[in-house]
């Protein structure tokens, strides 16, 4: 869907817009005006994050010679909620649940996420047992009341909660997704008696079946709500005082923007906003290039994130884990069920450490050297080899020009670390060892991408890889070769990619309902009524941010064969359902099922378990383009600024390859691999199988030399 520009969104298409991304270390600010864009990077001010935000905004405005009153819109994303959970610095939170279910959030799935390690520790729930309370009440799976809510017990609980100084309360009753009446009533009673205490109801936060996930999500929402509420309300005040007179919208993990009011109600929906911004940027770039099948690849210091984007839509999911503590393993974090852009996160970054295991295999990550001590070459005392050390030894990074020359790397330390930890144990020379490290980290990423694609029924071959983040351009070409990808795009100045992405995001809200419906007894009327209600809920939220913009509605459903336990996401047709819709729904489900699993199962009814509706208004304001396309018929020649020795796996040896400065390459320049394109923030490795070309937008585009792709794979 092309970004429609409408004045109805309440923001003028020519508005000056600011994007702010608060990360764990840095706060990035991007300012876009019709005349160009500016960015600023400041340290995140943990105690009062709004200080850093205002500082960054002032700096960006100063660069552009503008004042706060000139700004038409602020778009904001933040990891504050995530960090509060990871550092366990949220509010004193209580859980009120159905009698008999005090331990659901701690028992979790009653399993061990790692089979062979008998010394694992399970993730601690956000609400400890002394703060988990139960009340007599019971609703069954069909929403019927089996035991009325004991209102006296709830009233009594109010005193206890007040005495304990609880700041935030999660209410989660069994089957409240089917009938929320008890939760709502308990919420009313507690709200009346405990003014000022925040309440999160599971029927609002996550109205989906499976008590552990629903309660865990609700607790996480409650846990971060006071902090996020205070922060967002402070921020609104401070920006008002600073002279901004524009609306502020928040980036959610689902890739849409929402209002500050909604963010205060559902702060848990903000957890993955930074990475979501990166994916939105990839989506936007793909749109501009007219590419419909994308693999977005973001590689930083400790992890890499991969996301599949089809036809301008990043893969969506509603399951996510915060704070995976054990080798990023599934199950070692806390589940939150919210709309998220689905990404695989791999412990593979520049700081990921290499070693040799008992099977004499090189392993890389997820342990990371971080920035302190960092890779051995940083000269900060690190002695273990990191991926960056391998890149130094392999000639991909110029030790004298790393990070624009601000840090001088010591290649001798890289060599010593690799030799000691990989070369000697494997009896390989230091170069091959470094090559092995690089291959393994690339293979890890490729495998994660493949397993992810299988899980989601997507093919990777023939996609375009969009690579950003400091580490991605070093490994993108080789990763592409491993995945059978022939087209790679490396956007210009991707260092503030997330914040730029915020400016490209639509205003959107997603609602979901768990209701089990077999196609065999599909009642179109009741489903239409349910969707009408959901549409109203979602549109109301979107309208807060886009009062008169055109709003599009997208509907999908979680479907499976009746009796299965896992669903596939199926896009639903537009318009009201009729009795005849059953055949269409089955057809869409089976088409998706066949793509994923090769064959359909005959004679089994199909069932819908979850109904999803997303309302979306276009991204506010106009995206800034980087000037007209280069129309020169013949590409200008590229000038090499030197040469470097680079390992060429196809020839199994080092060879001298030319080095180009990205800033000195004119639009349209072509560079034949093997070559290196250096810039301040990172280095693009153009393997022998690729040709690089500088696009008008400033992006580097790598295209496989057709025959070379096959050769490289062998």
């Amino acid at each position: 869907m092309p970004p429609v520009i409408t004045p109805e969104s309440g923001v003028s298409p020519d508005a000056i817009r600011l994007a702010v991304d608060i990360g764990g270390t840095f706060t990035d600010v991007v300012l876009e005006t019709p005349g160009g864009s500016w960015s600023a990077k400041v340290l995140t001010t943990k105690a009062a994050p709004e200080d850093g935000v205002l500082d960054g905004m002032r700096r960006a405005l100063a660069l552009a010679g503008l004042v706060p009153a000139d700004v038409g819109l602020i778009v904001h994303g933040t990891t504050l909620a995530t960090n509060a959970i990871i550092e366990r610095k949220g509010a004193l939170t209580a859980l009120v649940t159905t009698k008999g279910f005090r331990d659901s959030i701690e028992m979790a799935q009653e399993n061990r996420f790692e089979q062979y390690d008998i010394f694992i520790e399970k993730p601690e729930p956000l609400v400890p047992r002394p703060l988990r309370f139960t009340v007599p009440e019971r609703v069954d799976a069909r929403g019927g009341v089996r035991l009325p809510l004991d209102e006296k017990a709830v009233e009594g609980l109010a005193e206890t909660l007040a005495a304990r100084g609880v700041e935030s309360i999660a209410i989660g009753f069994l089957h409240s997704y089917a009938n929320p009446a008890h939760e709502r009533r308990a919420g009313e009673i507690l709200a009346n008696r405990l003014p000022g205490v925040r309440l999160s109801l599971s029927c609002d936060v996550c109205p989906e079946v499976r008590e552990y996930e629903r309660f865990s999500t609700t607790c996480a929402n409650a846990y971060v709500q006071p902090l996020m509420g205070r922060y967002l309300e402070n921020l609104r005040q401070r920006i008002g005082q600073a002279g901004f007179a524009c609306p502020i919208l928040l980036m959610t993990s689902g890739g849409g923007l929402t209002t500050l009011e909604t963010a205060v109600r559902f702060p848990i929906r903000l957890v993955e906003s930074g990475p979501a911004g990166g994916v939105i940027l990839s989506t936007w770039i793909a749109e501009r290039f007219g590419i419909d099948r994308i693999l977005s690849f973001d590689m930083g210091g400790t992890t890499a994130k991969i996301c599949i984007i089809d036809d301008g839509k990043p893969m969506a999911s509603r399951s996510f884990e915060v704070d995976r503590r054990y080798r990023f393993m599934k199950g070692s974090g806390l589940p939150v069920r919210i709309p998220v852009i689905e990404m695989v996160e791999i412990g593979a970054g520049g700081g990921s450490l290499a070693s040799v295991d008992a099977m004499k295999r090189i392993t890389v990550g997820p342990e990371s050297a971080g920035s302190d001590p960092g890779p051995a070459c940083y000269r900060l005392g690190g002695t273990k080899p990191a991926v960056t050390d391998a890149n130094v030894v392999l000639g991909r990074i110029d030790p004298d020009r790393f990070a624009g020359g601000t840090i001088t790397l010591d290649a001798a330390l890289s060599r010593a670390a690799i030799e000691g930890h990989v070369g000697i144990p494997l009896d390989l020379d230091v170069t091959l060892s470094a090559f092995g490290i690089s291959e393994v980290v690339e293979e890890n990423m490729a495998n994660a991408a493949r397993v992810h694609a299988v899980e989601r029924g997507a093919e990777l071959e023939g996609r375009t890889l969009i690579a950003f983040g400091g580490g991605a351009p070093l490994h993108a070409a080789r990763l592409a070769e491993k995945l059978g990808i022939a087209d790679v795009l490396i956007p210009a100045s991707a260092g503030v990619g997330s914040a730029v992405g915020f400016l490209r995001a639509p205003i959107a809200f997603e609602v979901v309902r768990s209701r089990f419906v077999r196609l065999g007894n599909f009642d179109a009327g009741s489903i239409n009524a349910m969707f009408a209600e959901m549409a109203k809920d979602a549109v109301d939220v979107v309208k807060l941010g886009a009062p008169s913009a055109p709003i599009t509605i997208g509907r999908s459903a979680d479907m499976r064969y009746a009796g299965q336990g896992h669903e596939i996401l199926v896009q639903l047709p537009d318009g009201p359902f009729t009795a005849a819709s059953v055949a269409e729904l089955r057809k869409r489900f089976e088409a998706g099922y066949r793509t994923l699993f090769n064959r359909v199962v005959p004679g089994v009814d199909v069932e819908v378990t979850g109904w999803i509706l997303r309302a979306e208004a276009p991204a506010p304001g106009r995206a800034i383009d980087r000037g007209p396309a280069d129309t020169r018929a013949e590409a200008p020649r590229s000038l090499s600024v030197g040469s470097r020795t680079l390992f060429n796996p196809a020839q199994r040896d080092f060879q001298d390859v030319p080095v180009y400065q990205r800033t000195e390459l004119a639009t349209g320049s072509a560079v034949q691999g093997p070559a290196i394109i250096a810039e301040d923030e990172t280095t693009t490795v153009v393997t022998a199988g690729f040709t690089a070309r500088i696009e008008p937008s400033g992006a580097i585009r790598l295209t496989a030399k057709a025959a070379a792709l096959q050769e490289a794979a062998q």
Binding site: E110, I118, V451, Q564
Partner: protein, 580 residues
């Protein structure tokens, strides 16, 4: 690939990683398409890839140690019966023979050859637990395997891509939940096909004509790594015995002699009890699986499972011993005893590695297997005719043993790795109401490190009908023992809330209007409870995990009214205890 180039070593390892990723994809497909709750909710499945001689090269890490060696062997059995030369592209074979599969009839193994350019290059196998296989139920009254359900010898289920509908019809006609069971078999067939496709793609990418060299690389390195870990241990023979509840009030002893030597570890179960009349007997393949799992957890947890790493752990048991039951002994509930074996092995290894193994835990799963409707439960047929027929298993666990330096895990499966089934899902698919599912106070064995707590579940019919439970529980008479001075965990029990106690290994009916209560065991403690940090005891009491009485009498910790440690009284209590 050029021979002997040092780069090959890197390429081999890249391919090895890829192969592991292929079986993970295969397993994921199984989880996402399966019908039975065991696979889809609980992860009770296995998936692996084999070379053309039937040696397992890689296995997905999934929830079920019981399939570790057993599935590895089943491909060999298939090849013995049907040589690869007689297999065609698109064929798949089915088997649930307990002695050639994974230990009981409910586990169905599917084996599929993979062809590339017309040549067989390897095989994929997977196994999962179907919800019903006919017969008299997991803990039924069967006295021979013939009574335990449909028995499928190695048979072709897919012929050149065509499903053998005759066989599918026979299976469907013999099980109580045909849709789920047939759906599961379809799921297995698909998952092997997905694995095969990925293997062929990998061979294309790396230009491999066969897997022989890669297989040699994987197996050689795995064997060396396993032996290197074993050779770090003090050689010798270590003995242990553990008493379990057994059957019909007759306890039984499980005895092991574990010998560590330069060429591997041998475990022999001579002296253990003999086979019994009911289905808790264990085929040797399943004994091997849980024994190897127990050894591997302690000795070489990071070496992946394959033919070579598994071959360094050898398991024997005399014929007719309960751990080597022969056909036609009933074996449906073999997991009860099988899952006890890691604890038996830990008791041996503790002597070689004094600070390296946990205390005993609940170990066998406390799966709540419920049923209702005509013919599945005692009651007036006129009344039962109105009941919804159902059959549902939800996976639950007691506490695990405390670890050296760490408390045990509460309500967590070990050695099995299955996940539970959410109460909301159980109630969606079956007419039952779970009224309670909470930790069981004081069930964790006391120790410097406390055993994990068990849990209590209370369940009632949602339609005021009688319903049945098929129990297959142990640790009801003999508790999980503590280690290094730690106390035993609490034993489990099954009862009707109004008072009647129910047998732990049988089928029982719960009358309409009554509630069932299942109280699961806690794990054993590690170390002297009087050495436990008083602050931890105080926290346990404040959380309701340990009662004040146990804190005072067993841990020697005295608390004030607001759960703070009364230091003086605690010091005194502990001194008195030390003097005694």
């Amino acid at each position: 690939m050029r021979a002997n180039h040092p780069l090959n070593r890197i390429e081999y390892q890249v391919m090895w990683n890829r192969l592991i990723s292929v079986v993970e994809e295969q397993a994921q497909t199984l989880v996402r398409t399966a019908f039975g709750t065991a696979t889809r909710e609980a992860g009770d499945l296995s998936a692996g890839v084999y070379d053309t001689t039937g040696r397992m090269l890689a296995q997905a890490v999934t929830g079920t140690p019981g399939h570790v060696n057993s599935m590895a062997m089943s491909v060999g059995h298939v090849l013995d019966k049907v040589p690869l030369a007689r297999m065609n592209d698109g064929d798949a074979y089915i088997v649930n023979d307990p002695w050639q599969g994974t230990g009981h009839l409910n586990d169905i193994v599917i084996v599929t050859p993979t062809f590339r350019r017309g040549t067989a290059v390897g095989l994929f196998a997977c196994t999962l637990h179907v919800v019903d296989i006919g017969g008299r139920g997991i803990m039924g009254a069967a006295q021979q395997v013939y009574e335990e359900g449909l028995y499928l010898p190695i048979t072709k289920i897919v012929d050149r891509g065509e499903i053998n509908q005759w066989l599918v019809d026979i299976i469907a006609a013999n099980v109580r939940e045909p849709v789920q069971v047939i759906g599961d078999i379809y799921s297995e067939i698909s998952s092997n096909e997905v694995g095969g496709r990925r293997l062929v793609a990998m061979m294309d990418e790396f230009g491999l004509e066969h897997l022989d060299d890669l297989a040699r690389h994987i197996l050689d390195h795995s064997r060396e790594a396993s032996l290197e870990a074993i050779r770090k241990l003090p050689f010798g023979t270590y003995h242990n015995s553990m008493t379990v509840d057994g059957m019909n009030g007759k306890s039984m002893e499980l005895k092991a002699a574990l010998t560590i030597g330069p060429e591997g570890i041998d475990v022999d179960f001579a002296g253990s009890a003999g086979v019994v009349q009911n289905g808790i007997n264990v085929p040797l393949c399943y004994t091997e699986a849980y024994t190897s799992f127990g050894v591997k957890c302690i000795v070489a947890p990071h070496v992946p499972n394959n033919a070579a790493s598994l071959a360094t752990i050898r398991v024997t048991a005399p014929d007719g011993c309960i751990l080597n039951a022969k056909h036609p002994a009933p074996v449906a509930a073999r997991s009860i005893i099988g899952q006890m074996l890691p604890d038996v092995v830990f008791g041996c290894l503790q002597q070689a590695l004094p600070q390296g193994v946990p205390a005993e835990g609940t170990s066998c799963l406390w799966n709540v297997r419920l049923m209702g409707g005509m013919g599945r439960v005692d009651g007036d047929p006129a009344v039962l005719a109105k009941a919804t027929p159902f059959n549902v298993t939800s996976f639950h666990s007691g506490g695990t043993g405390a670890r050296p330096k760490l408390d045990g895990l509460s309500a967590t499966a070990f050695p099995s790795g299955v996940r539970n089934v959410p109460v909301e899902i159980t109630e969606t698919i079956a007419p039952v109401l779970v009224w309670s599912k909470e930790y069981r106070t004081d069930s964790g064995g006391a120790g410097e490190y406390r055993g994990g707590l068990g849990q209590i579940m209370e369940i009632e019919s949602a339609e005021d009908m009688p319903f049945g439970i098929s129990t297959s529980f142990d640790r009801v008479v003999y508790p999980p023992r503590g280690r290094a001075g730690g106390k035993a965990g609490m034993t489990g029990k099954v009862e009707i809330v109004s008072g009647k106690s129910l047998p732990p290994k049988a089928h029982s009916s719960i009358p309409a209007g009554e509630r069932l209560r299942v109280s699961m065991p806690g794990g054993g403690g590690y170390g002297d409870p009087r050495r436990r940090d008083p602050a931890k005891v105080a926290r346990d009491v404040a959380s309701g995990l340990v009662s004040e009485e146990v804190a005072r009498n067993v841990y020697g910790v005295v608390l004030t009214a607001d759960f703070a440690v009364d230091e003086a009284a605690t010091t005194k209590a502990r001194m008195v205890a030390a003097a005694e």
